[in-house]
């Protein structure tokens, strides 16, 4: 039979088509299965395997596939845009770098681990400290400085001990550099090398090995952390797994089993509920961000917007909340024992708002004391704004004179602006109100703003997570989300001035 072009072409195409068909994955029957891809530092093998097993048992419709390697190599992959969902690094510096380069969106701390010297349990060698690595004829194994996290860490330790060059030369002569800590552990186990610098958690995974601690003066712990990659197509599932891995009653138990020094993690909940107390002034600036956070994290935020005086009193009375976004630092300080490290997010000035066209010709603070004016202020006990207004007036010795003009005292400034707008346009019930600029900016058609020339401290809005929250790390991620660029824009669109977020 002589070949014909047509026959050969058709045959070729059929072979490719059949192979391609076999390669396209058959749709899983029944429940649709979600797949996560986890890139993890190879040294964390045992706890990671156990956690995945338990997670898949608890959530059988999810599959977690893994790519283990040296953390340095994984970071290179993540930075190169490799598709994946989660990056669990043996040291946070790698995950942080991926975060700075925009390849990781969220970071969650997991545990600490310490570099140690390791030999076989039946070893007769006398290894006491890193200086022992210089014994002649000793076969030493180290992680590649560019590969696993232990590689970089080992170099740091030996440099601090002042013997990096010598040890490096010894390793190059009759030792070995390896790309993952597990391969090093294997080498020690098999006896191809005598001693290696490993991580305590990895040594605990190999019953044949023992560890010898390294002097803390030259040693530093590695902080294991997990990041959600920006290439993920299922962020809430990825975060779900990341929360599982970092929950003190789930994944962290497995890490603790292998002697990792685990963080004080969140409590596990399939859909955690985060209760947030927030000053009413912040509502429009944060609502969209809260919605987005809920969708991305797969959590629920129970929101309680109110005057901060009311919120603070309820907290003092034993009310529970996971996080508090206060209208002013003065309210946060009253309950500072309940919260951890508040972060200042935004600020806004106090202004005088008057009906459009300023019919009563109000120009400065002292004008508010004029006979016959109808003034509205916020309640000093119930709100930050009220307290700040009272302080301001008192400082300028106007308190009594203005208070006799006050017709209404309300807990939230929004209502004051509404009253100023009046039931119909041009029928204001009040002549002036003292509110935040943010409040006044909300009704530009009905309201004019008079800036208060007297030097006055703006109200600063701090965010803090409750000490007793069951989900403090989730709360911190909410703060991170609030401090992102798109949230910043929402604050600025609402008239807030963005703060750098320095701690108080």
């Amino acid at each position: 039979m002589k070949p014909r072009f047509g026959v050969v072409a058709v045959a070729s195409i059929s072979v490719i088509a059949v192979a391609a068909m076999l390669l396209t994955r058959p749709a899983t029957s029944g429940d649709e299965q979600e797949t996560l891809i986890l890139l993890y530092g190879a040294g964390l093998r045992e706890p990671v395997r156990e956690i995945i097993d338990e997670y898949q048992r608890e959530f059988p419709n999810v599959r977690v596939d893994v790519i283990p390697s040296g953390t340095g190599q994984l970071m290179a992959k993540v930075l190169a845009g490799e598709k994946g969902d989660l990056f669990l690094g043996a040291d946070s510096s790698y995950v942080d770098k991926a975060y700075e380069k925009g390849a990781v969106a969220e970071r969650l701390a997991v545990a600490r681990q310490w570099p140690v010297l390791s030999v076989r349990k039946d070893s007769k060698l006398s290894i006491e400290n890193v200086q022992s690595l210089l014994q002649s004829g000793l076969k030493v194994g180290l992680g590649n400085p560019g590969g696993p996290a232990i590689g970089k860490a080992s170099q740091g330790i030996l440099e601090r001990a002042g013997i990096w060059k010598q040890v490096k030369a010894a390793v190059e002569n009759h030792g070995v550099f390896k790309p993952t800590v597990q391969e090093l552990a294997n080498d020690v186990k098999l006896g191809t090398i005598d001693v290696a610098i490993l991580l305590d958690g990895t040594v605990a995974q190999h019953p044949e090995l023992k560890s010898i601690p390294i002097d803390e003066k030259i040693n530093e712990p590695l902080h294991i952390s997990i990041g959600v990659m920006t290439t993920t197509e299922r962020p809430s599932r990825a975060l779900h797994f990341a929360r599982y891995l970092t929950a003190h009653d789930r994944g962290l138990k497995n890490f603790a089993k292998y002697q990792y020094d685990v963080i004080d993690g969140d409590a596990w909940a399939d859909v955690p509920e985060l209760s947030l107390l927030s000053g009413g002034i912040l509502r429009t600036a944060i609502s969209d961000t809260l919605d987005e956070f809920e969708r991305r994290e797969g959590v629920e935020i129970v929101r309680n917007f109110n005057g901060c005086g009311i919120l603070t009193s309820s907290l003092k009375a034993g009310g529970e909340a996971d996080a508090y976004f206060a209208c002013d630092v003065s309210f946060m300080t009253q309950v500072s024992d309940l919260f951890l490290d508040p972060v200042n997010v935004s600020q806004t000035r106090m202004v005088i708002a008057v009906p459009k066209g300023n019919p009563r010709g109000i120009e400065k603070l002292s004008d508010l004391a004029r006979e016959g004016l109808k003034i509205g202020v916020a309640n000093a006990k119930q709100s930050a704004l009220g307290a700040l207004t009272e302080q301001l007036l008192a400082r300028h010795e106007l308190l009594d004179a203005v208070m006799k003009n006050v017709r209404t005292q309300l807990p939230t400034a929004d209502v004051l602006v509404t009253q100023l707008q009046g039931p119909n346009s041009g029928t204001s019930l009040l002549d002036a109100v003292v509110v935040y600029e943010v409040n006044a900016l909300r009704a530009p058609r009905d309201v004019d703003i008079i800036y208060i020339a007297e030097a006055v401290a703006p109200a600063v809005q701090p965010f803090a997570v409750a000490r007793r929250s069951k989900h403090p790390h989730l709360g911190k991620r909410l703060l991170d989300a609030i401090r992102q660029a798109n949230s910043k824009k929402r604050f600025e669109d609402n008239g807030f001035v963005w703060m750098h977020g320095g701690q108080e």
Partner: protein, 295 residues
């Protein structure tokens, strides 16, 4: 031919035993080395199973869905690559074998690049190619509004696996086919041409059937080469389980988490697959060739 006409030597001085002995000793040492490595793999796994109770580790590999997927992907992608590679290697091999044209030496050198370059470099270059391509097409889209997009994804996807295999394996196919075409006397084609064939007809009816053995050899070489390809795939297509993980990647992944037993088990599996496929191809190929010779 001269050798056939010359009379057999009447007197043998000394024995050929030394000569054959050297052949066997030198060649045999290499064969023994190959067999020893395989044997060591096998013995290691057996020892781990029976002496160290490592059966669970071996079983994990055997029941692992990822490994089965990687096996399937390895076999099928190598097959696709082989078909594609032959389609480009036949014309190039034929051109290089039959024609003298300006730039032939350069073409020859270019074809050596995929063979000479370290596999990792090939992967990196592919990645860069697609990144630059993306940047350029974005720029075009911005300037003109014309969206130029690839109909299929290459980086970190299955087509990327095939492309990476193809880039390397096709170069080997070209080498093999060129040798095969070189062996077919030009005379046969000329006879066909004088009998009224066009060049195309002569190629299809005379050269290709003659080159059948060479095609088979090229296909086997390409297939085997693709099955073992690792470096460029790791860089360009990633090592995503159930997506772009091929068997060599599995070995690497098992090894890097310190699971030596798993890595060796998969390696043995690969040896098995390769041996089975190569033997089947040789047997069928030879039967086919033998059949043709009889006709």
């Amino acid at each position: 031919m001269a050798s056939n006409d010359s009379p057999a030597p009447r007197h043998r001085v000394g024995s050929d035993r030394w000569f054959y002995g050297c052949l066997i000793l030198l060649g045999g040492s290499y064969i023994v080395l190959i067999l020893l490595t395989l044997l060591a793999d096998g013995v290691y796994v057996l020892m781990e199973i029976f002496l160290h109770g490592q059966w669970p580790a071996v079983r994990n590999v055997l029941v692992s869905e990822e490994i089965w997927y990687a096996t399937k992907l390895s076999i099928l992608s190598s097959t696709i690559t082989t078909v594609l590679a032959l389609w480009v290697a036949v014309p190039i091999g034929y051109l290089l074998s039959r024609f003298k044209f300006p730039g032939r030496a350069l073409l020859d050198a270019i074809l050596d690049i995929p063979i000479v370059l370290p596999p990792l470099v090939i992967g990196v270059s592919l990645l860069i190619l697609f990144k630059t391509g993306g940047v350029i097409s974005n720029a075009i889209a911005e300037k003109t509004g014309i969206e130029l997009s690839m109909p299929i994804d290459f980086p970190y996807a299955i087509p990327g696996v095939i492309l990476a295999q193809f880039l390397v394996a096709a170069a080997f196919a070209v080498r093999a086919l060129r040798l095969a075409f070189d062996e077919i006397p030009f005379r046969k084609e000329e006879v066909a041409l004088t009998l009224g064939c066009t060049r195309g007809q002569a190629f299809w009816r005379v050269v290709l059937p003659e080159a059948r053995g060479g095609l088979l050899a090229a296909a086997t070489l390409t297939w085997a080469r693709s099955l073992g390809e690792f470096g460029p795939i790791l860089v360009f297509a990633g090592a995503t389980p159930m997506r772009t993980e091929v068997l060599p990647t599995s070995v690497f992944l098992q090894f890097s988490v310190g699971d030596l037993v798993g890595a060796v088990t998969i390696s043995l599996g690969m040896v098995l697959i390769a041996v089975v496929v190569l033997v089947v191809v040789r047997v069928f190929g030879h039967r086919d060739l033998a059949g043709r010779a009889l006709r």
